[in-house]
Amino acid sequence: MKAPKFSYVRAESVDHALALLDQHGDEARILAGGQSLMPTLNMRLSRPQLLIDINRLDALKGIALQGDRVRIGALARHVEVLNSPVVAKNLPLIAEAMPHVAHVAVRNRGTFGGSVALADPAAEMPACALALGATFVVQSSKGRREIAADSYFKGLYETARAVNEILVEALIPVEKPGTVSVFLELARRHGDFAMAGLACHARIDKGVIAEARLVYFASEVRPTLATRAIAAIKGKPWNDATRDAALAALADDLDPMTNLHGSAAMKLHLQRVLTRRAIDQAVARARAA
């Protein structure tokens, strides 16, 4: 199980990487943390002609508060996000999700940007970013553009990023006082990709759900904002009737995949269980705050 032949270039700058992307198109792959790309290379499932290693591009690194947004550089390692005081303080949802991301050795190398760029349907970070209304900054040799998370995730491993673009950073609005977030997922084993998962961000006033973003992942081809379920709970107190309405609406929001991890029916069931548990917890957290 050895990787097929390829060429390798260590990018000296973002512009260098972009020029190589322009030159090689989809025959090139960006190598960031490599925790998803390397297995596919070793298994010969992926056959790029050129790997563009961006690991030494300082411009893509770092985590910092910028006004009312947190900038997470695409090359921020999972471990940096996990240990970041900025994230812990301003993005509690991501802080809660982070321990679910793989294992220590993978977190030491895998990157936030890599996870968002690949958009694995079971990955935690895309779901969190979508729940928090993040903006992704991508860059090509023509310049930079911003893509709202809401329009970034297109399908199975499919995003709005073009072949000639590199994901540079994510800009994530800080979680405002008065809001709560809850992250839940169900994975067969700790650190595995989940079978069902929910990233929830809400404002709950005196038991009434004023605003909410419920993003479901793992069961769907892409992280999915459950607009109908959200509509069912918005402006309502969290009681049996609201819950039943939300769980019913979920059947229209979600279109779970049947795969090795289970049937679509089971995944819908699990997402409903998570919905109940997450909003119970959100309400409890709001009350405690």
């Binding site: 032949k5 060429s7 390798y8 925790q35 993978v106």
Partner: protein, 161 residues
């Protein structure tokens, strides 16, 4: 493409400065094992699940099969052989032997390199937390109980508990 692309790298492995020409498609552990004959790091899956290939790169544990050798240019790499020679985990290794926290031993180097990171943090950890920390390293023989015992004993000794 027909040719095999190679490139020069310079790195520090177990404290020794090394310069070599490597095939760019070769992962770090194939390089360590094949080129440097450091056979303590093992290959169990080559897709990043089993942890047998765990090595320390620039101070932190990583999957050696999920990093290209060429990417280690300029890096400081420490393998089980290096950790043994410096004596950093001599207490942990002794605890593994005494507790029989290994059978076939194929997972042990990776397990030890990972556990070394936990010990380095020098913070108290429950059995559950130790299990959690090691849960990216597969052991087919022991059932993990003895490994957790050995790590727990070593950690507690280091913390003077």
């Amino acid at each position: 493409m027909t040719g095999e692309e190679t490139t020069e790298i310079t790195l520090t492995v177990n404290g020794e400065r090394i310069a070599r020409r490597v095939r760019v498609r070769e992962h770090l552990v194939d390089f360590l094992r094949g080129e440097l004959q450091l056979t303590g790091s093992h290959l169990g899956c080559e897709h990043g699940i089993c942890g047998a290939c765990s090595v320390r790169v620039d101070g932190v544990v990583v999957r050696g099969c999920l990093m290209l050798a060429v990417q280690a240019d300029g890096a400081e790499v420490t393998t089980i052989e290096g950790l043994t020679d410096t004596g950093e985990i001599a207490d942990l290794q002794a605890a593994f032997v005494e507790r029989n926290a290994l059978q076939c031993g194929f997972c042990s180097p990776g397990m030890l390199v990972t556990a070394a990171d936990l010990l380095k943090a020098a913070k108290p950890a429950t059995r559950e937390e130790i299990r959690n920390f090691l849960s990216g390293n597969f052991c087919r023989c022991t059932g993990y109980h003895a490994i957790v015992d050995a790590v727990e004993t070593t950690l507690n000794k280091r913390l003077g508990r």
